[in-house]
């Protein structure tokens, strides 16, 4: 900590007691179990890029549930990349008095992990006898690196191997600092403040997103002091299909690097040695690309090999695991890795095939903001074509997908690690047509109301892979149940009489599914009148087919609804009715559209056949709370049509 400045940040116990009292209770914060009385972070940045940040946070307990939740406090850390030391832990009792707890009295154990075993740890504190009205306060010190960049410093100093002598932490990128600070939580916050001092030769770029805050930058002889503050922040309840917090919450980005190219060159240098290949890899590359006529075909074939043969599993093999790609030879041998190994394996194989390729970083399902802070959480592959353009490939998202870049990653920012240094790029924008779904159905209704039929569906892009996932992401023993559940949308009494699927491993052709079924007493029959619902329209309510037709399930939203991929669905059904029966209902002709969604439906009778067709299209990635109502209205017409009973009448003497 910067000498003598603590008093600027830590409040006195008297001030804290006043704040606890002023924070209110359960009545003032309806529905909340706790309220954050204050959350203050302050600290300074070393020239190495090392952040030294202190946090003082106090939480007031409002309910018994809140008391139970706060009774165990957890502080995560990674011995190899950042510390998180608890300096002070206190309970301000409702009845008065402050209990000081021993910061050393904790369980220091491994964190829970799954699929990604990076040997990170946590400290657990048990706070005993917490009561409603008590306030829990802690002070922690965090020290670690987030991003760094090499500065030329002569032969004696190697920033890539520099280790902090005090902590043993090795910075990934010497000389740079970044932070991402969110200014909203699920619980209410009375006051949040973030203050950081950076040396005068190391100014920070910053920007505040989604809302505003009180901010200032003060300058003295040694430091820039950046301070950000916000009060009375409402808690939020997560909504289904809301975007990640990166794009939905107020946040502050700060960074001491100001150019993406610096980051690009660093990423290239850190990983460039990892893409060597051996004879075993070369042999597989030759086998996989045999018969490929073009480089595009070779790249696609290699991508699919990596996607299908590498299993998602992460191990910690060395310091800097989060940004260091394992050698391609190792990934190939172990057939396992996380996104960076998928990306690196493909770089390795592309190079073995004579193509120029680099690893790249991206942020999945969210845009990267312009401040060059490390916002990346995903690794992909960039293939440099002879014409100087890059084609982006994402093997991690390609298992059981015909695509080389997933439609869900439409218009997504990325940063390629190259020797020259690249700027932030943006991926292809996918259209609804790119994830088109086709459904064709035929059915026959008997005079007694029995429905028999079949439905076939196939697609491309995400509409194709979604159907393959039905098979691959579930145990084989669960398949019967999955398809029964899906077909139950048509009618709970459905009996599946036949199933036929093409090969899910064949990624050159659309995956085609055909289901045959029957439904006894599907229609209500009353002598010369029959009432029935449109079978295919009902089936379309199954969420794995037309994903967003049923997505608007709440009357309103506070956050955007994120449409993971834009989709065009075209469906048609021919329903054969008994001879002499005519549709007494009015024909259906619907053509509804707005900026986010389109729905067109037609139903008419031709001789003894009812011809039904539907076209549904999602057009916008983010449906805002304002446009949600219109989205819901249009999709509501589709749902209503699925519920609608049509009337058929038996002709008597040529008339019905």
């Amino acid at each position: 900590m910067i000498d003598g400045r603590e008093k600027d940040f830590i409040k006195t116990d008297e001030e804290k007691r006043k704040l606890i009292n002023a924070a209110g209770g359960e009545k003032e914060h309806k529905g909340a179990d706790i309220v954050v009385v204050f959350d203050h972070t302050w600290g300074h940045v070393d020239v190495s890029g090392l952040g030294n940040l202190y946090t003082n946070r106090m939480v007031k307990i409002l309910t018994e549930k809140g008391a139970a939740q706060q009774s165990v406090l957890r502080f995560d850390y990674d011995p190899r990349s950042y510390l998180n030391n608890v300096l002070r832990l206190r309970i301000h009792r409702l009845a008065g008095g402050v209990e000081e707890l021993d910061p050393g009295d904790c369980r220091d154990v491994m964190q829970p992990e799954a699929m990604l075993y990076w040997r990170v740890k946590m400290k657990l504190y048990s706070l005993r006898n917490l009561q409603v009205g008590d306030a829990v306060e802690y002070e922690v010190f965090k020290k670690g690196f987030n991003v760094a960049y090499l500065k030329s410093a002569g032969d004696r100093f190697d920033p890539d191997s520099w280790v902090d002598p005090e902590t043993g932490i090795k910075p990934p990128m010497y000389g740079a600092f970044y932070d991402i600070v969110y200014f909203r939580e699920k619980v209410p916050i009375k006051e949040k403040r973030y203050t950081v001092l950076s040396p005068k030769r190391m100014p920070l770029s910053f920007e505040f997103y989604r809302g505003d805050c009180r901010s200032c930058c003060l300058v003295d002889d040694e430091y820039y002091t950046y301070s950000f503050e916000k009060k009375d922040i409402e808690g939020y309840t997560p909504e289904m299909r809301m975007p990640g917090i990166q794009t939905s919450m107020p946040k502050l980005l700060l960074s001491s690097i100001h150019d993406w190219r610096e980051k690009s060159r660093w990423f290239y240098r850190m990983n460039e040695t990892q893409f060597e290949w051996n004879e075993d890899i070369k042999k597989v590359v030759n086998e996989v690309t045999a018969g490929c006529a073009t480089d595009d075909e070779k790249a696609a074939a290699l991508l699919h090999w990596v996607a299908q043969e590498i299993r998602y599993i992460g191990f910690s093999v060395a310091q800097g695991e989060g940004y260091t790609i394992h050698p391609g030879i190792m990934t190939f041998r172990e057939r396992g890795g996380v996104c960076k190994e998928y990306g690196g394996m493909l770089v390795t194989m592309l190079r073995a095939a004579g193509l120029e390729a680099y690893a790249a970083q991206t942020q999945a399902l969210a845009p990267v903001n312009r401040i060059p802070a490390d916002q990346f959480d995903h690794c992909v592959t960039a293939w440099l074509k002879p014409d100087g353009s890059f084609t982006m490939l994402d093997p991690t998202w390609a298992p059981f997908s015909m695509q080389i870049w997933d439609a869900a990653e439409s218009t997504q920012n990325f940063l390629i690690g190259s020797p020259e240094g690249e700027n932030l790029g943006v991926s292809t924008t996918f259209t609804p047509e790119d994830s088109r779904l086709n459904l064709e159905a035929t059915s026959t209704i008997s005079p007694e109301g029995m429905l028999t039929g079949s439905v076939s569906y196939w697609g491309r892009g995400r509409s194709d892979s979604t159907q393959r996932f039905m098979h691959s992401w579930q145990p084989a023993a669960a398949h019967d149940r999955l398809f029964q559940k899906m077909m139950s949308e048509l009618d709970p009494a459905v009996e599946i009489t036949g199933r036929c699927f093409t090969d899910i491993m064949n990624l050159k052709e659309s995956f085609r599914s055909t289901l045959e079924y029957r439904v006894p007493k599907y229609a209500l029959v009353n002598q010369d009148t029959m009432y029935l619902r449109l079978p295919l329209m009902r089936l379309l309510l199954a969420p794995n087919l037309v994903r967003y037709l049923t997505a608007a399930d709440t009357p309103e939203r506070k956050f955007d609804m994120m449409v993971i991929f834009l989709q065009l669905a075209e469906a048609s059904e021919t329903i054969t009715v008994p001879a002499g029966w005519r549709l007494a209902s009015r024909p259906v002709a619907m053509d509804l559209k707005n900026d986010s969604v389109e729905l067109a439906v037609n139903l008419k009778q031709e001789v003894d056949e009812l011809r039904f067709s539907l076209r549904f299209m999602t057009k916008e990635r983010y449906v805002t709370p304002d446009t949600y109502k219109a989205f819901r209205e249009i999709t509501g017409h589709g749902k209503n049509l699925a519920e609608r009973w049509l009337v058929l009448r038996k002709e008597q003497g040529g008339k019905c």
Partner: protein, 617 residues
């Protein structure tokens, strides 16, 4: 059995490799699974597990190639003898050091006391479709700490098992009792050999089919082949052990005394007192999903559980028991086994799934999955009371006769010219249908919300004008409400389709219909009777053009009867009378009768037999 690396020549050894044609619908096949339990003379236990498997589909490769091994980090050591993969080309990959990791199980991250239990995650590398995996590890006590050798071993798994061997190696004077259940179709052999002061009991099973656990039904494991083992001789012995464990954990504690005094201030009714204490334990103590069998049903002192504000299901029950005692109430901690087919000859606490507290004739449960506390939920369970004296200690069914589970709904509705409906609802809730326990102590907003939700389930879009809802007792409640329903809209063809309430909707339960056949017992929501009677006076200008014929679905476990009748003279306004009677007369449906129950549930869900079609005259 030889224990050399079988993978080295496995391709040669397995001339007839099991593949997908032999095992359709399977993600993998377990070729050999061996479990060996050794009890040493000093009380230490060693468990060794060997498994050889062929991977058939991506799902198994991706989801089953990490093996979590639970162990006590201070009392046990895990040794991995072999973690290998034989790839399709014969290459053998051994799991490196970094592929064997230790983590804290996620369900213990809010329970510091239990973080001494850790998972060793053994990851296999080089796993391919068509490849083989071999795993051999042991968990050894570094000092005696376990209460004997006992447990329940599920014999079937997510993949079919071609051969399974289970061996128990104990000192000669330790005689285990065994119980084998549901092993139809799997050849089982066993042998006991006594040699050199050791007693070896061996069981061998062949061709165990996979057990599908993808359905989330709570009794999904009921009927799964299993082997139960232990040293206990009588249930009295086991019940007394339980009573001692409870007694040890419920010593007098000042904090418990003070809290009980505070919570019960002004409450005189003994039942209300018990419910108040139950509510505190349920809401104020975080439930930890850690099965108490891992700690041999020992519990931390109740005062510690109270102060730490977290505990296992069993610890929460012990805390409630301690609080009741502090309040001067008699109570007993009991364990319940939900599997109705479980025989009582297998003596082991591990068969018990949930912990309850009996006081004043009520059984109360404190876990977060069941927010109600009533005897009816225990019907059909096998109960073990933690008592040191008194008979019998093993009970089947509730400890007292229940008041009966019954829901009676009467609706009188009139359709007005604008097609809106008005009328009244009279409902009597008894037994399980009574929301008393659910709503007890809740603020009025919550109670009104529940009433609104219930009325909405009885008639779609119905809104309450005025209502009176009375919690008469823990056994009965009544509701009288004036209702309004927004105008029913004609469809584009001028027809009005009115769906009368489904039995499952009004009863507030669901029977999953996506599973068409089962191998496990299915739990129904409890025996009970629902009756619905609706009188609907139609608008004068509307006439029924379709009303379903009377229907009766009879199964051995449930019957459902629905009946429509239209009354009114020619030309006059018509009145529709609808009646529905659902009688659930079983708690559990055996697999062979599930299809009939499912068919009834399907009929109720689709609503064809309760849909009325109207048209303007």
């Amino acid at each position: 059995m030889e224990r050399q690396m079988r993978g080295l020549n496995i391709l040669a050894e397995l001339a007839a490799r099991p593949d997908m044609t032999q095992f359709p619908g399977c993600d993998a096949v377990i070729i050999l699974d061996e479990r060996h339990y050794t009890l040493y003379a000093d009380g230490r236990i060693c468990f060794r597990h060997y498994q050889l498997k062929r991977v058939l589909r991506d799902f198994d490769r991706d989801k089953k190639s990490e093996v979590p091994v639970l162990f006590h980090a201070e009392q046990q050591a895990v040794t991995v003898h072999s973690a290998k993969t034989v790839m399709c080309d014969g290459t053998i990959m051994e799991s490196p050091e970094y592929a064997i990791n230790q983590i804290t199980p996620a369900y213990l991250s809010a329970a510091p006391h239990y973080t001494t239990f850790q998972h060793k995650i053994i990851s296999l590398v080089g796993v391919e479709r068509g490849g083989y995996t071999e795993l051999d590890y042991e968990v050894t006590d570094t000092k005696p700490w376990q209460a004997g050798l006992h447990g329940v071993l599920q014999l079937a798994e997510h993949a079919p098992i071609m051969r399974r061997i289970v061996t128990f190696d104990t000192p000669e004077d330790v005689v285990l009792s065994f119980g084998l259940q549901y092993i139809d179709g799997a050849a089982a052999g066993n042998a006991v050999v006594v040699d050199n002061g050791r007693r070896k009991s061996m069981f061998e099973f062949k061709d165990l089919p996979l057990w599908n656990t993808e359905d989330s039904h709570p009794l999904i494991m009921a009927g799964c082949p299993r082997l139960v083992y232990g040293v206990a001789r009588t249930w009295e012995e086991v019940g007394a052990q339980l009573a001692h464990k409870v007694s040890d954990a419920t010593k007098s504690d000042d904090d418990i005394q003070a809290l009980v005094k505070k919570l019960l201030e002004g409450i005189e009714c003994p039942v209300q007192s018990a419910l108040k204490l139950h509510k505190h334990v349920q809401e104020g103590i975080t439930a930890i999903a850690f099965h108490p069998r891992h700690v041999h049903y020992s519990a931390r002192p109740a005062g510690d559980v109270l102060r730490s504000r977290y505990g296992t299901d069993f610890e929460k029950a012990v805390l409630l028991h301690a609080m009741l005692q502090a309040a001067g109430r008699e109570s007993v901690v009991a364990l319940a086994c939900p599997d109705p087919l479980f025989t009582d000859r297998v003596l082991h606490l591990g068969i018990y799934d949930s912990a309850w507290v009996r006081t004043m004739g009520m059984f109360m449960r404190v876990d977060k999955s069941l927010h109600e506390a009533r005897n009816e939920h225990l019907e059909g369970h096998t109960l073990l009371l933690g008592v040191t004296e008194g008979q019998p200690r093993l009970k089947v069914g509730p400890a007292r006769k229940t008041a009966g589970n019954r829901l009676d709904i009467k609706l009188n509705l009139t359709m007005k010219e604008d097609r809106s409906l008005e009328g009244s609802a009279d409902v009597i809730f008894s037994g399980l249908y009574n929301p008393y326990f659910n709503l007890h102590g809740k603020d009025s907003d919550k109670v009104i919300g529940w009433v609104k939700g219930f009325v909405g389930s009885v008639w779609d879009n119905a809104e309450i004008d005025t209502h009176h809802f009375a919690h008469l007792a823990t056994t009965h409640s009544v509701l009288a409400a004036a209702l309004k329903v927004k105008p029913v809209e004609a469809n584009d063809d001028g027809f009005y389709f009115l769906a009368f309430p489904g039995a499952m909707a009004t009863g507030g339960f669901d029977i999953g219909v996506d599973v068409t056949e089962r191998r496990s017992v299915y739990a129904l929501p409890g025996k009970g009777l629902q009756t619905v009677k609706i009188e609907l006076a139609l608008a004068k200008d509307l006439e029924p053009v379709f009303s379903p014929a009377p229907q009766e679905y009879k199964t051995k476990d449930i019957t459902l009867k629905q009946d429509f009748s239209i009354k009114g003279d020619e030309g006059a306004a018509k009145t529709v009378e609808y009646s529905q009677k659902l009688d659930i007369h079983a708690n559990y449906v055996p697999p062979e009768r599930f299809d009939a129950v499912r068919s009834l549930a399907v009929a109720d869900k689709r609503g064809h037999n309760r849909t009325l079609v109207l048209r303007k005259k």
